[in-house]
Amino acid sequence: MIRLYDYVLSGNCYKIRLLLSLLGLEWETRWIDFHPKREHKSEWFLGLNPLGQVPVLEDGDFRLRDAQAILVYLAAKHDERGRWYPAGDPRTLGEIAQWLAFADGITATASAARLHDGIFFELDADRARAGANAPFRVLDEHLWFQEQEGREWLCAPGHPTIADLACFPYVALSEEGGVSRLPYPAIRRWTDRVKRIPGFIPMSGVLVA
């Protein structure tokens, strides 16, 4: 049985829930009291993940931390059609890896501002907000060029990959951190497309299309 150490308002946990659900997998949830108790920094949880971050995934005796790594693992292992992470396609795998790393830049900026504004994380929120505009501009421009080529998703194939799932949550939640998506029309069209993927599930704060 797959077990997910999960926090209900975490976008990084949500992207795992989203992929699990898109793959039609069943899983068991262990809710972590991230707020207000900071259980992810407790001794027992640091034993699971010394970085003190959710999500953590267990599949049988295999344990993995890091949202992007978990997406790779789940798609490589459980997607029989090989679409979410196309193992035999080096170019697409390279592109996916590029956007998975890019997603961490969104987490460090847009997500950080949201944690500050909503649940009192101590950090420089104005700097985080300003910092979000650099990746958002890159993302918007990339998506616009993709659209000119008739492509709807971040990477080359004519279907979404885990790259889209990795980047989606903290973009879709950005307003909670005071980062407006108004200046990014291609991003807005893309988030609407993600919400229309068959089997899509929302999380609190992500409005359904």
């Binding site: 207000p36 009192f120 909670e176 609190s204």
Partner: protein
């Protein structure tokens, strides 16, 4: 920015959850525009100190309902009392405080509104086509509180202990301008109530922190489950609240479309005006 009204200045307000404070040791926040700090007095002493960060003047502190309460004035009445809390077969937990970029009065009004359940809390607190809010009764009590009774709503998953959809009975109590409580029939013992208090901390006129406090019949529940369910639900309200314009609550009954201005909302706005509450509101034109 308006000066806060005496009725708010001279009252108690929840300013931090104990579980949160314990994870930090101290916490800085803002109450009615006044920057304050809350600190644990000593390791494990269970005592706290509250002070202004501008003048360093100490402020009164009380611990109740899993939160620290303070006042920036001279409190002339006690913290609201919820007698049901003392029943032995209940479990109590704070829900996880969440800051919202809107007037706290808007947060209270939203909490009173059943009409949004099917659209905002889809598959939990409501589902189409069960969208109709049946008529209910609203009164102002002798203690000068608002009481809404005989509310009923169909809910697919009313609480973490619910097993499928059911008609749920509701009552609401507005005890203070920024304190509201809802009672809902327990899925397992429908003749008894679960209840949730929302202590809303007015940070400024257009920002607030919602401090939920949950009291559920224990049955098969635990505090962790109640807490994540509360955060799941409240985080669905958050973007709706933050998109409301204007961010302050208009008290003029003609100011907004009737859809949102149902009986309890109208009564709340009238009551706020009668109490002399202007902070976080747009007062009706004279």
């Amino acid at each position: 920015m308006a000066e806060p009204d005496p009725i708010l200045v001279n009252d108690w307000h929840a300013v931090v959850e104990l579980d949160f404070l314990a994870s930090r040791g101290s916490f800085e926040t803002v109450l009615l525009g006044v920057p304050i700090e809350i600190a644990e007095s000593g390791e494990g002493s269970g005592e706290v100190r509250v002070s202004r960060r501008d003048t360093h003047a100490p402020l009164p502190a009380r611990i109740r309902y899993g939160h620290v309460f303070t006042s920036i004035g001279q409190p002339n009445r006690d913290i609201v009392h919820f007698p049901e809390c003392h029943e032995a077969d209940r479990i109590h937990v704070t829900g996880g405080s969440i800051a919202v970029h809107v007037s706290g009065l808007r947060a209270v009004e939203n909490f009173l509104d059943m009409g949004h359940f099917p659209f905002v809390h889809t598959d939990y607190l409501g589902v189409e086509p069960h969208t109709e809010v049946e008529p209910y009764e609203v009164t102002v009590t002798e203690e000068d509180e608002i009481l809404a009774t005989k509310c009923r709503f169909f809910q697919p998953l009313a609480s973490p202990s619910a097993d499928g959809g059911m008609m749920v009975d509701y009552e609401y109590r507005v005890a203070r301008p920024y304190t509201v409580c809802l009672y809902k029939s327990n899925p397992i013992e429908p003749e008894r109530w679960d209840f949730i208090v929302l202590f809303v901390q007015p940070v400024s006129e257009e920002r607030c922190i919602a401090h939920p406090y949950l009291s559920y019949l224990a049955h098969n529940l635990d505090n962790e489950t109640n807490r994540w369910f509360m955060q799941l639900i409240f985080a669905q309200d958050k973007p709706i609240l933050e998109n409301q314009l204007p961010k302050r609550l208009p008290l003029d009954p003609r100011a907004e479309v009737p859809a949102r201005s149902d009986a309890s909302s109208l009564s709340y706005r009238r009551w706020l005006a009668a109490q002399g509450v202007t902070y976080g509101a747009i007062p009706a034109a004279a």
